[in-house]
């Protein structure tokens, strides 16, 4: 029972990581850049929930909707203002810009909301009893919501016109343009989807623990990035797998008082091991070059 509970907890925090990792991996796949400001979009989502649900007293689901919209707009704006002018610049310049954008968002949040935690209490989620088995409602909500979102995203990418265009752009930008695909539009869509997923991740995070501050997204962002690399950056199923793996490892590591302090170290060690054994990640594709 204890095992099952730990596993379920791991799966639910893992699916939160997966949501964030999807944003990293999709943006990397399409725009070939690491958007290190992605974690901070979660934080903006958290503060949006605070303002809408706590300050303005809106229904939590309305607040969630607004957070999703806000984050999507923010993601698209960041891309237009900061990254688009650097298309074709060296990857290092883009990377540094992304890190700068991350600090900018954190500092702005601190200026507006101060450095003290803001509490976002959306629902009073209790425990669900199934016989002798107790499971927190948070776990059920997170798991089921993220499962639905991930399935929907996979179907979107595989079966819609825009989704297929995303695959085409991620594989070969020039060839995609020759198909008549507007690459800028696809990049915009990708940032919007990735940031919307970050808002959901922020929602799940405040469901689990209410305090929101300016570094809310920093650690989960880095862990999710690690998860995306473990799964194979650029691969959507890879990000899901990497995120889940990360959550499960974290959950099991925390059950033992001896191992618990080393949880984060263990998580990043997995990255090192995976990169040694499979440099392109678990589901990452090795680039075939055919001349």
């Amino acid at each position: 029972m204890k095992f099952l509970e730990t596993l379920l907890n791991g799966l639910s925090s893992g699916s939160t990581y997966a949501m964030i990792a999807l944003g990293y991996t999709m943006v990397y796949g399409i725009a070939k850049m690491l958007n290190f400001a992605h974690g901070d979009v979660i934080m903006v989502g958290g503060y949006t929930l605070f303002v809408t649900a706590m300050t303005m007293g809106m229904h939590p689901l309305v607040a969630l909707l607004l957070a999703v919209i806000c984050c999507a707009i923010l993601g698209v704006t960041i891309e237009k203002l900061a990254y688009k002018p650097l298309r074709g610049a060296s990857p290092l310049a883009v990377l540094i810009t992304a890190i700068g954008m991350s600090y900018l968002l954190q500092s702005m949040a601190q200026m507006i909301f101060g450095s003290a935690d803001r509490m976002v209490r959306l629902f009073d989620l209790g425990k669900i009893n199934i016989g002798s088995f107790r499971i927190s409602a948070y776990t059920v909500v997170t798991l089921s919501c993220s499962a639905v979102i991930m399935v929907a995203l996979s179907l979107f990418v595989k079966y819609t016109r825009i989704g297929r265009a995303m695959i085409a752009v991620s594989e070969d930008k020039a060839a995609a343009q020759l198909m008549g695909i507007n690459v800028n539009f696809i990049i915009t869509i990708t940032f919007a989807i990735g940031s919307a997923l970050a808002a959901f991740a922020g929602f799940f995070m405040v469901l689990k623990s209410p305090p929101v501050n300016s570094t809310l997204g920093a650690m989960p962002g880095i862990k999710a990035f690690t998860a995306a690399v473990i799964g194979g950056i650029g691969s959507i199923p890879g990000a899901m797998l990497g995120g889940i793996l990360m959550g499960v490892v974290e959950s099991f590591a925390q059950t033992s008082p001896v191992i618990a302090p080393f949880t984060v170290a263990i998580e990043f060690s997995i990255l090192i091991v995976i990169l040694l054994v499979r440099p392109s990640g678990i589901l990452g594709k090795k680039r075939r070059e055919k001349v």
């Binding site: 695959i167 085409a168 594989e171 020759l178 008549g180 690459v183 075939r288």
Partner: protein, 236 residues
């Protein structure tokens, strides 16, 4: 009237000048080829005309419209497309999905179905392998797929960049046969080739590109019999 009119086209990679102001035209119904050695700027010319890489100077007019500053995806929608060098099919997508990508701008389902049928009729190999992942096709099949994918928008002008590259001789002949056939069906063709003899043989007119400049032009037959071309490109 020229279908494609390129005037004084200049392209730079950083400070390096890759095209030093080239001018040429392609008239409706022609096969025009550009021949030249490696590094002459053939692919650069192709990519800048279609808007994949930016132009530094000059102008390009297609079908009466100035497309000098137009982004690639809009140019394609006007009816000009390209089979890029190295084929560049989408390796992870199936044959069918590649053709679907080719028809990305085609909103008419009926047209898509018709074109799909005619592709499968022309290339039964592709029909057999419609659900196969394109990256697993042979080089020849990939070239067929790349050409079919480009035809899905029913281009007025089809540009082919080194379509014979890396193919076995029998497949090279087949590729040139297909080009002739497409031309017969009314597609205007701009061909870039290292295989100069083959290209000149089927061309109405041709240009010779040397380190970013056009040095010779004439009908296919004229160039094929010119001493300079024979020495430099046709092996004596």
């Amino acid at each position: 009237m020229a279908m494609l009119e390129v005037k004084d086209l200049q392209v730079y990679y950083g400070v390096i000048c890759a095209l030093k102001g080239i001018s040429f035209e392609v008239n409706e119904g022609e096969i025009v080829s550009l021949i030249g050695a490696n590094g002459a700027g053939k692919t650069t010319m192709m990519q800048s005309v279609v808007g994949i890489i930016p132009k530094k100077g000059g102008s390009v007019v297609f079908d009466g419209k100035d497309i000098t500053k137009m982004p690639c995806h809009k140019i394609v929608q006007l009816g000009m497309t390209q089979v890029p060098e190295g084929r560049r099919i989408f390796q992870e997508l199936s044959v069918y999905e590649n053709l679907m990508m080719g028809a990305y701008t085609v909103r008419n389902q009926q047209q898509f179905k018709e074109d799909l049928e005619s592709v499968f009729e022309r290339f039964p190999r592709l029909a057999e392998r419609r659900n196969q992942i394109a990256g697993t096709l042979s080089g020849g099949e990939q070239q067929m797929l790349a050409m079919s994918r480009a035809l899905m928008i029913r281009p007025k002008l089809l540009m082919l960049d080194e379509p014979s590259m890396g193919l076995a001789p029998i497949l090279v002949d087949q590729v040139f046969e297909i080009i002739k056939e497409l031309h017969k069906q009314g597609t205007t063709i701009l061909l870039v080739e290292q295989n100069a003899s083959k290209a000149l043989e089927i061309s109405d007119r041709a240009y010779v590109l040397e380190t970013g400049k056009i040095t010779l032009s004439g009908t296919g037959a004229e160039l094929a019999s010119s001493d300079e071309v024979r020495k430099a490109y046709l092996g004596g």
